[in-house]
């Protein structure tokens, strides 16, 4: 990690007006204790509660809301000596893939200011890639950590469901939500995960599974590790430049001794349909608490996308439609989990695209919310199944836009995924190419 406190604030001053990555800047922030992350600065997606500092979820409903307690992940980072410098922009409530559903304006992509930084966590990714902070904490429900990481050229980990406590994180879809680190390198992500992972008595869904010493797991050889290659997923829908970059990465992995195993996962194409039943259902329930009495403003302050998702979820859960939509989707979820299990009988990790396309031009999807949903195609199924996935920079388009890939692993295989990322970053330099703005 490179930036120190002073450098972070200089970058924030210089770039935030251009890219709109941060909603709140924590002026005068200072570390209070020494620890594993001493001297490091970070941003939190604005979905994490911070006592005394505004938490908005990028929605007008919570525009001036100040939390009463600290999210567990935030407290753990403070206790490790890291310093919070900002609360980062996002699609309101996590609803979106391009950050254009933020009530605080979209985050601009630092590699091309006319384009999206990705979503829902465009803010943390754009802040990290421009050096406003050493690392960011995102929240991934259907790609919200990995998608902006791919479009902003950083490394990011969506952890196994329950690996990191969700206590104090404003809920989107509770059975999918996962908290994870984003940074320039996989090595940094390993150190951060070591600090934030583990059982939390305040989150009953957090896992009692032992936390590995992730930084120590870096450096193991990739020889004979089996890399699943789901040929079908690289269909016509993937931009040819993205496909080519990932094929080149596959070649690198092969050279490093990994065995390439062709696999088929046809059910993954139903992931979007499944996701857009379950996630809206859960969000309609989670957002029902915002009635203007206990938190912030009343329900007329919800934006269009939140309203659409609340209504979609309410419909899917309503009497007479529950079996056809909600229950059906949860049955397909069982089949999808089996599909992942079958794949992991044949291979150890699976290589996939993160995004099917390059960052969109801001406003491009304005009248077509479905298009905004469809670009989640490769990132929603890992949340449905609960499995972890690391997003890694793997190239650039001819026009200078970053390209990312993801490596998906079995439940609680974060150590192995971070090592794959670490090894890849020993032989490539994509992750070090910073934007010129």
């Amino acid at each position: 990690m490179t930036a120190d406190l002073k450098a972070s604030f200089e970058k924030i001053k210089k770039y935030n007006g251009k890219i709109n990555a941060l909603i709140t800047v924590v002026e005068g922030a200072q570390p209070t204790v020494d620890g594993l992350l001493s001297g490091k600065t970070f941003v939190l997606k604005d979905s994490y509660l911070t006592k005394g500092i505004k938490t908005t979820a990028a929605s007008n409903v919570l525009r001036d809301y100040v939390g009463q307690y600290n999210a567990t992940v935030y407290q753990k980072l403070l206790d490790a000596g890291a310093t919070l410098v900002g609360k980062a922009n996002m699609d309101a409530w996590g609803h979106g893939a391009t950050n254009e559903n933020s009530d605080f304006g979209p985050v601009r992509n630092p590699y091309d200011l006319t384009r999206s930084a990705g979503g829902s966590g465009g803010g943390p990714a754009a802040a990290v890639t421009t050096g406003m902070a050493d690392f960011g904490i995102g929240e991934d429900t259907g790609g919200s950590i990995r998608n902006p990481a791919a479009w902003c050229n950083i490394t990011a980990l969506k952890v196994t469901y329950g690996r990191v406590s969700r206590y104090g994180c404003i809920a989107y879809a509770s059975s999918f939500d996962s908290v994870g680190p984003t940074a320039i390198t996989a090595q940094d992500c390993a150190l951060i995960l070591k600090v934030i992972a583990g059982r939390d008595k305040h989150d009953a869904t957090s896992s009692p599974e032992k936390v590995d010493d992730y930084p120590k797991m870096l450096g193991n050889s990739l020889r004979n590790l089996r890399l699943g290659w789901p040929e079908d997923l690289f269909s016509k829908e993937v931009d040819p430049e993205i496909r080519m970059a990932i094929e080149e990465a596959k070649g690198k992995f092969e050279k490093m001794g990994m065995e390439i195993i062709p696999i088929k996962m046809p059910l993954l194409f139903y992931g979007i349909s499944l996701y857009y039943v379950i996630a809206p259902s859960e969000t309609s329930s989670n957002l029902s608490r915002y009635d203007g009495l206990r938190f912030g403003n009343d329900r007329t302050f919800f934006g269009a996308e939140a309203k659409r998702r609340i209504m979609m979820g309410t419909y899917a859960l309503s009497s007479g439609y529950y079996d056809a939509y909600y229950k059906k989707a949860q049955q397909v979820r069982t089949l999808l989990i089996e599909e992942y299990k079958k794949a992991f009988d044949k291979c150890d990790v699976i290589l996939m695209p993160v995004m099917p396309c390059h960052p969109n031009r801001l406003g491009e999807f304005e009248n077509d919310p479905i298009k905004n949903m469809l670009i989640d195609i490769y990132t929603v199924t890992q949340n449905t199944a609960g499995v972890p996935s690391i997003a890694l920079p793997c190239g650039f388009s001819k026009t200078g836009l970053p390209i990312g890939m993801q490596v998906v692993g079995k439940m609680f295989s974060e150590g192995a995924l971070l090592n794959v990322g670490y090894q890849f970053q020993q032989v490539t330099n994509w992750h070090n190419r910073r934007p010129k703005i």
Partner: protein, 85 residues
């Protein structure tokens, strides 16, 4: 989808313009999710969560840090009314 009815269930107010706009947008979302009907799920158990855990109880311990202070038989709370002025 009857937008007005669903909005009422969800405690949302929608304008006439929104009814029209959301009506067509949500019918495209329904087309998208209706693809699930093609999958045979006869006899498949639904999955509602992936933690692998069930019945997570915590110890039934008293957390005194979350309690109001007791002074003999009355609760002591921070002063909320200003009597000085």
């Amino acid at each position: 989808m009857d937008i007005k009815h669903v909005a009422k269930l969800a405690n949302l107010t929608v304008s006439e313009d929104e009814v029209k706009k959301y009506g067509s947008q949500l019918s495209s979302v329904l087309d998208l999710v209706n693809k699930l009907k093609k999958i045979d799920t006869e006899g498949v158990e639904p999955t509602y969560q992936v933690t692998g855990q069930e019945n997570c109880w915590r110890e039934d311990e008293i957390d005194t840090t979350s309690m109001l202070k007791l002074d003999k038989k009355v609760f002591k709370i921070p002063k909320i009314l200003n009597h000085d002025g």
